[in-house]
Amino acid sequence: MMLARTTEQRARTLVGREHDAEPAARWQREPIGAGAAAALRPSDRLIAPGRYMAAHLGRQDSPSVGSFSSAADLVPVSVGVAFAVGARGSGDVVLTLVDEGAMACVRWSESLTLATAGRLPLVLVVERDRTASPGATGVTSSGQALLGEAVDAEDPEAVLVAVRAAVDRARTGRGPALVACVTPRAAPGPPPWRRGTEGVEATPSERDPIELYARRLVRGGMPRADVESTLRAAEDEVVAWQP
């Protein structure tokens, strides 16, 4: 998570936007990305937009597809990859990270239908806005519901546990699964008409998932100095990186 945070900060500095407001909506993708990527083995595939940088950074030497399209269009691509991976019978799994906007189009339900019918080794991790409508989560075009679980998007360990269970299920030939990572939206983010009021009053620093997780580690017995040195090491790694 810290690698992703520092990388994005450095990127903003490089393009002269270092004074932009800290994008809290992006913070919430760090635990999703980190937790989901940690559930994969090296030969599994990750397909996710670049905004889930924590996932990509967690798998730097493993097969991944980044953002070349909108999240919605990554879903059929993921099904195609899962089709090819499944046909090989390697036991590998395809993990896709998308936000809930991907669910609002026919491609989503078409893709889920094909993945379900073919029992493809596919896990969809969907970032869901807590204020969004409680409607369909994993419903295929034929009306079939996909096995799904909802977890707190700000808790990387909860994401890891849920995604690991879904990955294990897909790996053993029991078909695709869905994990909904429920997140409160904080400004800047979607427009007010969409995000509602919940979570908007919270200041970004109080919702910082890295700070929350650091406190949790300290509460769990990890010395504060060790936590801070780990965070600094991540920063140093990004600063030292050369293309």
Partner: protein, 315 residues
């Protein structure tokens, strides 16, 4: 050089033969069909190569190209079929992204999208043709065969290409027969063909406009050169410019009523490379109007080209 055996088959059979040869040569080549629809082009291929090589996806009208991209990223060489109207309304963004991925990232995305098109594709025919959507996509190759031999050769090249290729097959030409080399036969993407050589004018055609253009210039017997573009992107600018520099006059033959993307591209190419050598403005003739007049459609199309050629020669 060893003699190549030639057989006479129609364009539909030539396309099937290209698929059969490439599927036999390379196990990663698979046909992907959408929406409970079995194209006559893939008939019998599943019996030859197994059901896993001819994949039927249902429903997949909106996802088939994206899924093909996914398969291609995993090392397959998928060939999917999308109608011209479906491509415009449901698949263009996915195709553009595949092309962008190939061009910008340098990643192999070896997919072929076969697009049956032309005036006979009732209900789904875009009167201005799918070319207008496709020619502005960086990283995408677009080919449009006019003969059975080129249909086979271009499809083989498209399947072997590391990047996405749109294969525009004219439904009107499916039954047209012609000599086709047996076995492996490749036609390089990006090379136009001089169907007839001449010195007084250059006629540029592609797909279903090549046959009426050839008939017209044959009848005129007036030293007119006829180029079949075969590849729309990349365009063979060298051959077009070289021909127009020799003849000084050019005529573009099109199916579309409006000035098409192909015509814009060819015209710009001529202006860029041969402007100083032009003896007449670049002319264009649409066969759409000829077809709408009724009567003998073929004769009307040939007559339209003949009239345009005569006007050009007299300029």
């Amino acid at each position: 050089m060893a003699a190549v055996n030639v057989t006479k088959i129609n364009q539909l059979e030539a396309i099937t033969e290209a698929l059969r040869i490439e599927m036999g040569r390379d196990p990663s080549v698979i046909c992907v069909e959408a929406a409970g629809f079995r194209s006559p082009v893939v008939e019998g291929l599943d019996q030859l190569f197994g059901a896993g090589r001819v994949v039927a996806l249902d429903p997949a009208e909106r996802t088939v190209i994206g899924m093909a991209v996914g398969m291609a990223l995993e090392g397959s060489r998928p060939i999917c079929e999308v109608g011209a109207a479906d491509l415009a309304s449901r698949g263009l963004d996915q195709l553009a992204e595949a092309a962008e991925l190939h061009k910008r990232e340098g990643i192999a995305v070896p997919i072929v999208v076969r697009v049956p098109c032309g005036p006979s594709t009732e209900g789904t025919h875009d009167p201005d043709g799918p070319e207008r959507w496709l020619l502005s996509m960086p990283g995408l190759s677009v080919v449009a065969p006019a003969s059975a031999a080129d249909a086979k050769g271009l499809l083989v090249s498209a399947i072997r290409s590391p990047g996405p290729v749109c294969f525009l097959e004219q439904v009107d030409l499916y039954e047209e027969t012609g000599p086709v080399p047996e076995g492996a036969h490749e036609v390089p993407i990006g090379e136009a063909r001089a169907v007839r050589e001449g010195t007084r004018a250059t006629v540029v055609a592609h797909g279903s406009t090549v046959a009426p253009a050839l008939e017209a210039v044959d009848e005129l017997d007036a030293e007119i050169e006829l180029l079949d573009l075969r590849s729309l992107t990349p365009l063979d600018a060298e051959t077009i410019v070289g021909s127009v520099c020799r003849t000084g006059k050019s005529l573009l033959v099109e199916e579309t009523a409006l000035f098409s993307a192909v015509a814009r591209l060819v015209t710009a190419t001529i202006w860029d490379g041969a402007f100083e050598r032009l003896d007449a403005p670049v002319r264009r003739v649409s066969l759409a109007a000829a077809a709408a007049e009724g009567g003998d459609r073929t004769a009307a199309r040939v007559a339209a080209v003949t009239e345009a050629c005569n006007e050009l020669l007299a300029y």
